[in-house]
Each structure stands twice: as C-alpha cells, then as structure tokens.
Amino acid sequence: MAQVIQYLLNGIMNGALYALIAVGIVSIFKSTKVVSFAHGHVIMFGAYFYFTFAVILPGAEFMPDWVAKWEPEWLLAYKEGAAMFSPKAAIAAWVSNLPRIVLGLVGSIVCNALLAVFIERAFMRPLLGQSSLSMILCTVGLIWVLEGSASLIWSADIDQVPPLGPNFPIRFTVFDSQVFLFSSSVVNFVIALILFIGLMLVLRYTRSGVAVRATAEDQSTAYAMGINVPAVFTTAWVVAATTGAIAGAILASRNGLSPTLGLFGLSVLAVVLMGGLDSFAGVFIASMIIGIFEAFTQWQFGGEYAEIVPYVLVLLVILWRPNGLMGQAEIERI
C-alpha cells in the first residue's frame, strides 16, 4: 500500500510537469491552429537561458558577490548549527541562492518571450493565410535551427543549476504508510498548478481571454470584428515560450541541462494529442494519467518499459478517440 501511494505521488509530480509543458502547445494550437513541434526546443532554450542568468552571469567578474551567494547576517545566524540535509540547511541554501534564481527566471522568461516574438514574426507571420500544414512543417524545421544554435551559443561546460525551491526530503504518513517526497518536487508541482489554473482563469474570465477564445473558435470572424488576430497569435507564442522558460528551468534543475531536453519536450506532444489539442482540461487529465501510468510501469517493470508503455497508452486512446479525450471533433488532424 505504501508503495502504491508513493508511486502515485511520484506520478502526479511528473504529470504536473507534463501539464506545464503541454500548456504551451495547447496555447499555440488553440489560437493559431498550428501544432508546434518545436515547443520542446523552445523549452530547451528556456533552460539554457536559465543557466545563463542563474549560473554564468552571477559568476561574472562585474557581478557583485551577493548575486551568486547571498549571505546576510540573519541567514548565517539562522543556519548556525543546522544538520546536513535538514530542512533548515536546505532552506538556508535556497535563500542564499535566491538572487540568482530570481535573476535566472526573469532572464529566461524575458529572453524566451523575445525568442517567441522573433519566431512568430519571422517564420509564422509570413505564412498566414497559407494552410496550417505549412506552418506546422516550419516548426519541424525550427527544431534543427534551435538545436544547432543552442550548441553554438552554449558550448561551455554545463554546470548544475539551482532548483527553484528548497530541496529536502519530506516524510509523512498516509493511511498508516510512510511515504516521502522531495520538497523541490512539491514546489515544482505547485508552480505548474498555479500557472495552469491561472491561465485557465485568464482565458475564462478576462477580456483578453474573450479575444483568445473568439480567435480560437473562428479566426477570420474575430478578425473582422475588430480583434487584432495577429497580435493574439503573438501572445499565444509568448505565453507558450514563457511557461516553457519556467518548465525549462525546472527540468534543468531536476534532470540536468542537455540538448536532449528538446526531445523530452517533443515527447510531451503525445500527451497533448491524447488529451485533445485544444482542450486545457483534457490535456491536464492526460498529463496526470501518463505521469501516474509511467510511475507505475517504472515500479512494476523497470525504467525501459516506462519509456514505452505510456506511448502505447496514448496510441490506444487516440485509436479509441481520434480527437483525444476532450478534443473538438471538427479539428483537422495533423
């Protein structure tokens, strides 16, 4: 029983990350009807930007020391005598990292937003009015452009990046069974959840949300009613890239930084297809299902199977419901 709950929790933590990655793909698809195959690589850029602003920049000559390691008096006093790996030590380490974490997040969000504007203006906008297939193929081409430029720009040795939250094990009992989680996973989970719910609320209850939903339903009619549809497209790309920057920072701190991040992001496309390309709710459910399913496969059959089984599930769901769990039927398949 303890293990069931343990793996369930692990699965949910991973599922939230999938959801955070998926949110970008859905955001772009909903307004533009383009499936971005390059989203994983935009996330990879976010991760590298985070590395740049949270590790390289604070270590630079001209940066004051406190950016890399902040140690005010009270913090030193607080961590006085804290045991290794204790929550206290972890929190103290996190606080002294806080300046560069904030710098890293702000830097990667801003840079990724600029990257998104550039991609949308340079590669998507000229194709407006053409079939969305040509735009989709363009995002496929972007994969190599982004991968190539990342390896040109960040050729230096890759270092550890700081996690977004303090990292210590949390032990607790559920139904009389001992389970444990890393606090940083919980922080990541909460961030993913807040972003996801926040986006859904904005979409549902704000005036800008109305413009996005109108564009999602009928681009040309929205355009003819005074909504600046190309601006909505840009916004969708920016939302995807900024949530992607945060996802990138989380992934880099969890699994380390490498070009394979892009491929991992690409694999989340399968989760999106399972949930329904245009449904935030469906994609959230699919993310959780896949996360949990993956965790249980890992537990029962080992890591190799965990990489295959979830995708078999995705295929089965798509055979059963071609538009995904909660997708709209009239959507043209890619």
Binding site: A214, E217, T221, Y223, A224, M225, G226, I227, N228, V229
Partner: protein, 263 residues
C-alpha cells in the same frame, strides 16, 4: 459611404469571380444586393471587409472607397475599428462562448474610439438576447443566432454594416422579425447597410436601392420602387409568376435571354 469601383476579384489567381464590379452605398440607406447562389455576393462583402486575403482572394483592379478612403490594403480589424463591420453568411457566432462574451468580443471594434453605446443599449433591440445572456451561443435558435450576429455588429457603433443573407434558414415569421429590426436599426441609428439576400421580398421591404448580380457582374440596378416594378424581377425574384419548378426554370432562361438582348 461605400463605393466599389470596377473591381476584378479572383481566388488563388485562378477563378475569376467578380468582373468589373461596381456598386455604391449611399449614407443612411440600405442597399440590397440580390442574386443567385454563386453569383459572387459574399465575395463582394469579403472584398470590402478585408477578409479576401485570408482565403487567398485578390482584388486585381479597381478600388473600394469607404468613408472617403481606399480600403483595399486595410486589415479587417482596423476596418471594424473604423466602423465598417461585416455580419457574415451563416451568422458565425462563437458557439462555445456565452451570449455576453460574444458581445464582449465585439467591443474590440471600439479600440481607439470613445466608449460606445454599451451592451445594455444594444439589448433594447434584442430583448430575447438579454434573457439568454449567460447561455452558450451555440444553444440559441437560428433566429436568435442571427440576432446575436447583428447585436455584435451594433456594439461596434458601425457606420456601415455588411449583412450577408440574414434570412438564411429561418422560418418566415422569424424573417419578418429580423427585417423589422434591420429597418429599425437603419432608421434609429442612421447606419448604412449593404444587404445581401436571396429573399428579394424581404430585402425590398427594407431597402432603398438595389443591385442584381449575375456571374460576378451587376446586371440591373435602380431604386427599389423601379426594381419592384420591373417585370423580370417580378417573375424571377418576387415569384409573381407560377411557382412550379418547370416554369421558373423557363423564367430563368427568359430572364437571361432578355439580359443578353438588353446588353
């Protein structure tokens, strides 16, 4: 208000749909554009509202003047913000949004202008929409959806409404109701309208001027009273001859023959 001067329009640089097409809509008037399916009426409206490029349509020659300025190169959302709104064929309401959100979406046309008359004022023309303001627009009846499409246009404080087949698929009673509202809007708000219709009787009831389109060309034009008196129009468009299928087919041929002869 709107002048379309001698435009040629094609899709994909292949099919020529409008050939030397010209009409003019006078301020404060309702101008009817009548013609059979495929004559090119909707294409005229798309050309005026800037939607053609989205469907790979091109205006090759001629010009379209709205309120004294050429609109050939202007983007659709900017035209809406200048007061030229297009109520599209098939209503094109946002089905998955509430009635109120549909109207909220329409307020984007007021961007850069001082706030318009507001949703409440618009509801006075469409009390049925007010009752259903929180309902999903997709659940409205056809007539109510047409009302919603027109309400969205009114929110934009338009100078000119392009109205594409408002009677399409509606029961006769609903058609009367819709056209009564059209006449009232034209009268009270002093909005000019370009009204595309296949239901000539309904269109004539609210229009001042009319054009008959065939194969992308204007074949007949005049004040509504003149058109009503025209024998061809009586038989072909107002169905004053026999309504039986065989006969009306012959009427079409007769009409076309006369057309050629007139040219």
């Amino acid at each position: 208000m709107l002048q379309i001067n001698n435009i040629n329009v094609n899709y994909h640089h292949a099919v020529q749909v409008l050939k030397g097409f010209s009409i003019s809509v006078k301020p404060g008037e309702v101008t009817a554009l009548l013609g059979a399916n495929g004559a090119g009426k909707t294409t005229v409206l798309k050309a005026a509202s800037g939607l053609l490029p989205l469907e790979n349509g091109h205006i090759e020659d001629g010009d379209i003047i709205f309120d004294g300025h050429s609109v050939r190169q202007v983007k659709p959302h900017l035209l809406a913000r200048k007061g030229l709104v297009h109520v599209r064929e098939g209503r094109r309401i946002f089905a998955e949004m509430s009635v109120e959100d549909n109207l909220k979406a329409a307020t984007y046309a007021l961007t850069g202008r001082k706030a318009g008359q507001g949703i409440d004022q618009v509801y006075t023309y469409f009390p049925r929409l007010q009752e259903r303001s929180r309902q999903l627009a997709g659940l409205l009846s056809g007539g109510e959806q047409q009302m919603l499409a027109m309400a969205r246009a009114l929110i934009a404080e338009p100078k000119l409404i392009l109205l594409d087949e408002p009677s399409l698929g509606l029961a006769p009673k609903m058609v009367d109701e819709i056209f009564a509202i059209i006449a009232r809007i034209n009268r009270e708000q002093n909005v000019s309208m370009l009204l595309v219709e296949q239901n000539a009787r309904a269109a004539f009831s609210v229009s001042h001027q009319g054009y008959i389109v065939e194969n992308g060309k204007v074949v007949l034009e005049g004040r509504i009273d003149e058109l009503k008196a025209n024998e061809d129009i009586q038989t072909f468009y107002l169905g004053m001859g026999d309504a039986d299928g065989e006969k009306s087919f012959r009427d079409v041929k007769h009409y076309k023959r006369r057309k050629r002869w007139l040219n």
